[in-house]
Amino acid sequence: MNETTTRLLTKFQNEDYRYAYDEEFSSARMAMQIQAIRESQEMTQKDLAELAEMRQSRISELENVNYSMWTVSTLRRIARSLGVRFSFRFESWSELLPEIENNNREHLVRPRFEKDETFTTETKVDKIPAKASGRVLTSPKFATEPVIHASPHTHTLPLLIGVESSTDATTVPQKFRDAQLWKKESDSEFRQIPNMRPTEAAIAA
C-alpha cells in the first residue's frame, strides 16, 4: 500500500471528500486512458477523430484531464474506434484504491480486439484432421470446397471456414454448432481457432 492509498483510507471516511475525489479521478483517468490507448496504437488525434467521426479538437478536449462532460454515446464511439469495450457499472469504494495506485500509462492501455490474446490464440495443425475432412459447410447450403467466411465487420479478422463432421444433411443445425472454426494459412495449411464455434449467424454471413 503506498502513501496515497494510506492517506485516502482515512480521508475517504468523509462522504463529500470521497465523492469529489472520485469524480475528479474518474474524469482524469478516462482522459488519460483515451490518450494511452490511442498512442499505443500509434494513432494521432486526427486519426482517431476520423475513425470516430469527430473533429481533432474534440479529441484533444476529451484527452484533457479537466474535461468532465462525458456522455455514454461519445465514450462508445471512442471505444469502437479504439477497438476496445466501454464498460460502465457500479463498484465498491475498495475497488477504487488499486486503480488510483496504478493510474499510469502501463496500466491504462488495453489491446484492440484484433490484438486481444483471448481471441487470437491459435493451435497450429498441418492439415485439417481426418475427422473434419468431410464436406465443408457453407451457407445456406453445403459445398465440396472449403468456403471462407470473412467477417462482415472487418477484413482484419481471421478468415473462417466451417467444417462439417458428418454428411447427414438432416441434422444441419446441430452440425452448425459442432463445426470447428479454422483460419486458412495457405492452400494446404490451416490453423484451428480453439474454443470457438461458428454461430448460424456467422455461417450465414
Binding site: 463529500d16 471528500y17 469529489a20 475525489y21 484533444s60 484527452e63 484533457n64 474535461y67
Partner: protein, 131 residues
C-alpha cells in the same frame, strides 16, 4: 518516480495552499485539490494533458481546480530534476468570468517565485494531513 511538491510560505509563516484549504473547511474542494496534486505528483515527467496550463510568466503555470461553485487556479513553478519534477505552489487565485481575483495573481505568483531565489526557506514540503 514521484515528483516533490512544495508550497510557498507566506509572511505569517503559513503555507499558501494548506492555509487556504484549512480556512475553506470544504472537504469537496480539498478532495479536488488533492486529486490534482496526486496527478502532479505521480506522473514523473509524463504529465497528463491539460493538467498544467501556461501563464504570461514563462516559469509560472496554473493548475485548474473546479469547485462546486467556484473555479480556482493554483499557480505553480516547476524545476526539472533527474527523472521527475519539483513543483512549488506559489499562489492561489479565484477565477470568475475568465478574470482572476486578485487581478495581479500571475504577477504575485512570479514575485513569490523570484523571492524563492533569494530565500529558499520561503517554501516547505506540501503535506496533506489525515484528518
Amino acid at each position: 518516480m514521484k515528483s516533490v511538491i512544495y508550497e510557498f510560505v507566506d509572511g505569517r509563516g503559513q503555507g499558501v495552499v494548506s492555509n487556504w484549504l484549512q480556512e475553506s473547511q470544504d472537504p469537496d474542494l480539498t478532495a479536488r485539490v488533492d486529486q490534482k496534486i496526486d496527478l502532479l505528483e505521480g506522473n514523473g515527467t509524463d504529465l497528463p494533458p491539460g493538467l498544467l496550463a501556461g501563464t504570461k510568466h514563462k516559469h509560472v503555470d496554473k493548475l485548474r481546480i473546479f469547485g462546486k461553485k467556484t473555479a480556482w487556479r493554483i499557480m505553480v513553478s516547476k524545476e526539472r530534476l533527474e527523472k521527475t519534477f519539483a513543483f512549488t505552489m506559489l499562489f492561489v487565485a479565484q477565477e470568475k468570468d475568465r478574470k482572476l481575483i486578485p487581478k495581479d495573481a500571475f504577477d504575485r505568483a512570479e514575485s513569490n517565485r523570484l523571492e524563492l531565489h533569494d530565500n529558499p526557506n520561503r517554501r516547505q514540503i506540501y503535506e496533506r494531513d489525515n484528518d
